[in-house]
């Protein structure tokens, strides 16, 4: 089973049966989509999945799934464990109904059955059950965990200011914890997720920014990648070659302000900013270069005389130690230099990826993106992807 979340799937691989995974969610972030996405992706795989709702009526849950474009009712392998309806005195026709959702023994009886009969249980909000039934909930949770030899339990857990022993216990009871939080200290007001702990594989995860798209769900998000390089190297062509949508401000065939492209790739949403190449536009480079997360330097492989300018642009845009990748463009031309020759002429370190490309034909452009994502996410992201 996979979690169905971009990057996490590459880093964590398959989740072995019998494991519990917790999405530890900052109260400020609307993180319930994580559990929902995990459930839906596994429904599509044909696993028996049950969603435990304690905060919304089954009807509202179905609508919430629909907001993301996931019509769960098309799947026979979907069921709901209803901890809500009887709480508000409503009638429920779900497969699993808890008559008294404040009574842990009663919940336990139904949960045990659900765990027996399903491959995946997703708790819509474990923290809410904890709020209603008290800390004893975790004793039962431990039993469910022991019971679930064949089943994976995934929980959304909103991290309200609980006592430390409660939070510590939740942490201990989870085989993997994914932290989901918000960022405030930068101008970009973003949300991120990262792996806090995992016990079935050895990864050191970095935090990944994300966006929630309706429909679509969780996408890893890279707000700014700069595509720069000397005049006439093929930057605009490169941006258009990798983007789903791209906008350019061109006059007389050259970019005067910038190219902006939106890339959808391997679960990532990436905004690409292409800069003008001529020196007279350098002030714009300075304005727009801020807060980039990575740089793609496009060079014309047939024109070594432009390499000093290329290097100068690289220095202008990467002064904060940003990761960068070189796209050795125009490889279809007879006089094109090979990546190794370019490395030597530009005196670049051995570990800087130099990827041959033909932007006009879209050749090599995604390899460039792979190389940069791998530098950004770490852990040999591109390599793992290649194996799978």
């Amino acid at each position: 089973m996979r979690l169905g979340i971009p990057v996490l799937d590459e880093l964590l691989g398959r989740v072995p049966r019998g494991k519990t995974v917790t999405y530890s969610i900052d109260p400020e972030v609307e993180g319930d989509v994580f559990g929902m996405q995990t459930l839906y992706m596994n429904l599509e795989e044909g696993y028996e999945c049950a969603y435990v709702t304690s905060t919304m009526s089954p009807e509202s849950i179905r609508n919430r799934f629909k907001e993301f474009g996931w019509s769960v009712d098309d799947f026979k392998n979907f069921s709901i464990v209803d901890l809500y309806s009887r709480y508000v005195g409503a009638i429920s026709k779900e497969r699993y109904v808890v008559e008294d959702p404040t009574n842990l023994k009663e919940i336990d009886r139904i949960m045990s059955r659900a765990i027996e009969e399903n491959d995946l249980i997703v708790f819509g909000s474990l923290s809410t059950i904890l709020d209603v039934c008290g800390n004893e909930t975790l004793d039962y949770f431990e039993e469910w965990k022991d019971l679930s030899k064949k089943c994976v339990i995934v929980s959304n857990f909103t991290v309200w200011p609980y006592p430390n022993e409660v939070l510590g216990r939740v942490m201990d009871l989870s085989n993997a914890v994914i932290n989901i939080g918000g960022i405030h200290h930068r101008v970009v007001l973003g949300h991120y997720y990262g792996i806090l702990k995992v016990d079935w594989t050895d990864v050191r995860g970095r935090a990944v920014l994300f966006k929630v798209i309706k429909p679509g769900g969780v996408r890893a998000y890279i707000p700014k990648i700069l595509v720069t390089g000397p005049f006439n190297a093929g930057k605009t062509t490169f941006v258009h070659a990798i983007s789903k949508e791209a906008i350019s401000v061109d006059r007389l065939g050259t970019t005067v302000a910038l190219d902006h492209g939106k890339v959808e790739y391997k679960g990532f949403t990436i905004d690409i900013f292409g800069t003008p190449g001529q020196e007279r536009f350098d002030p714009i480079l300075r304005v727009l270069g801020g807060e980039a997360l990575g740089v793609i330097l496009v060079v014309d492989s047939t024109k070594p005389e432009t390499f000093p300018r290329a290097k100068q642009m690289l220095e202008k845009t990467t002064k904060f130690g940003l990761p960068y990748v070189i796209a050795a463009n125009k490889q279809d031309q007879p006089k094109a230099l090979k990546p190794d020759e370019i490395r030597r002429l530009m005196c670049l370190p051995d570990d800087v990826p130099i990827i041959p490309t033909v932007a006009t034909e879209g050749k090599g452009v995604y390899e460039v993106l792979d190389a940069l994502i791998s530098l950004l996410i770490g852990g040999g992201y591109g390599k793992l992807e290649g194996k799978a």
Partner: protein, 122 residues
């Protein structure tokens, strides 16, 4: 308490409807979208990048001439206007209006709102 983004979006809501303002956005000086009150059909990220470029280019142009930093950029077209103004050191406030919008009123409201944004973003 509402998150910073929600508070910024709240500030933008105040602008809606004032003097024919149709949409508004808060954009970082380097072209990233911070918050927007804009229809889904608009590519808000591209809009953000382009307006930041506009103001950035205008600043470079006027300062090259020794005329200091401009207060705002106003683009007038047959189908509407775009006005971009600074909102503190980190951000810009951009609005789109109907073509016949009352510019005086819009600018007045924008200066009030940009002051609030400056305070919120610190």
């Amino acid at each position: 308490m509402a998150s910073l983004r929600e508070r910024l979006e709240g500030v933008l809501k105040e602008l809606k409807g004032v003097g024919d303002i149709e949409a508004s956005a808060i954009v970082s000086r380097d072209g990233l979208l911070i918050a927007a009150d804009i229809s889904q059909s608009v590519n808000a990220e591209a809009f953000a990048a382009m307006t930041a470029t506009m103001l950035g280019a205008a600043e470079t142009a006027t300062s090259e001439l020794g005329k200091g930093i401009p207060d705002r950029v106003i683009v007038e077209g047959k189908e509407g206007k775009i006005i971009a103004t600074g909102a503190g050191p980190k951000a810009l406030l951009v609005v789109m209006t109907a073509p016949k919008a009352n510019l005086g009123l819009v600018l007045l409201e924008m200066s009030k709102v940009s002051e609030k944004i400056r305070e919120l973003l610190g």
